[in-house]
Symmetry: none
Subunit: 216 residues, 2 copies
DNA sequence: GCAAATTAATGATTTATTCAAG
DNA sequence: CTTGAATAAATCATTAATTTGC
């Protein structure tokens, strides 16, 4: 498994200290040409050759002790943080860092480069993802506590507003599907569920129904 | 895009129209008289004193968990939210709620009444304050980061990471170009070097001192 | 034990929202 | 109202965990 990976990927690992402008964004070509319209042109797709050029060793190893330097450290695939890197990032996060600026990202990158391959964007994305997922976790738990905490005796009144997705009761639901084309839209708002029981005199939708606080 | 935005925004308060509920504010007239920047305020937002009583009774929590019920929970002083209440409110806030309408406030009040004394106006003010303070915090941090980055006069905090730094181009040119015309607002790439001015003179990098003051 | 098959995590991108100048 | 700037949310995609049949 890992061996296979290493074999198949190892040839990316040229020590090209490429200074090419192209970096390894996977779909850079799409990004550039992304008119999202039907541009018939199938844009020059990034070839493996092009991809290859981007590989850069942020700091190159210094030899690095021993050989823990496998494919995960060498580039060509997505960043696979080492334990040290993760520990450091989590320490920073715990210290309060959430959205490091360019300077900070650069420093972190340089520092963590000592432990293995890493780029600035990895740091950036890590914080984005970590923050988002912490938030999600917290939200979920908070919602849960809202719904069934307290004395538990009552049915969750506000919880109906939050339905993140459809019921989980369906166990025998086709398993294939959920990973497939989940075009399902998550329930966005609660206002939709917050059906007022009466007196909806006005049917018009307001974009900003009440903004008493604005103005300065 | 705009259409989508409007549609999606409309969910904020779809049912807020013409709710004749009252939250129990003492100075609702003030709120009502606040400048409504949006032309048709068909919203009798939170108005009319007549229903004050209606919301009031929602705070009589039947169970009231009388133990540890000190003065702050019993009334007579200003609302002192419990942890549960704060968690719930923050969950709602994170879920997207900013300016709940009367119905929503009523429901929230009833629900949170299970955790302790609370009135509709507490909920209302909480959202007002929370929103405002979040904004203030954000503004402050933005200013801080601006002033912090010493030399640079107008560097966007994070997006600068996406800017492909090219040698000595002029600023205005940079500004125009960094977004690849108007077709796609996609930024370039991380590229190899994010130009940072080393004003520290210190090459060593500590992880923790990077940005310890952040946090929330 | 061991890989294929499957599932869970998470890195990387894209899209939607928010705020507030213009 | 429109749009720029920044971010957060949602999504896509790949890797690691793990399960499973042998």
């Amino acid at each position: 498994m890992e061996v296979q990976q290493q074999l198949s990927l190892s040839f990316w690992d040229q020590d090209s200290t490429s200074s090419s402008l192209n970096i390894g964004l996977k779909h850079e070509h799409l990004i550039r040409s992304l008119p999202s319209k039907f541009t018939e042109s199938t844009e020059p797709v990034l070839t493996s050759l092009q991809l290859k050029t981007f590989v850069k060793h942020s700091n190159n190893n210094t030899k690095s002790s021993s050989k823990t330097l496998d494919i995960s450290q060498s580039g060509g695939t997505r960043w696979n943080p080492t334990q040290e890197q993760i520990r450091a990032l989590e320490a920073l996060y715990k210290g309060g860092m959430r959205t490091p600026n360019a300077n900070q990202i650069e420093r972190i990158t340089i520092e963590l480069g000592k432990y293995g391959r890493i780029e600035g964007k990895n740091v950036f994305y890590w914080f984005q993802n970590h923050k988002a997922r912490e938030r999600q976790k917290q939200k979920r738990s908070a919602l849960l506590s809202l719904s069934n905490s307290s004395t538990v005796s009552h049915p969750p009144p506000l919880m109906s507003l939050f339905i993140e997705s459809r019921g989980e009761e369906e166990e025998e639901e086709d398993k294939k599907e959920w990973c497939d084309g989940n075009k399902k839209r998550r329930c966005r708002s609660w206002s939709e569920e917050l059906e007022v029981d009466e007196d909806e005199g006005d049917g018009t939708l307001e974009l900003f129904p009440l903004h008493p606080e604005l103005g300065r």
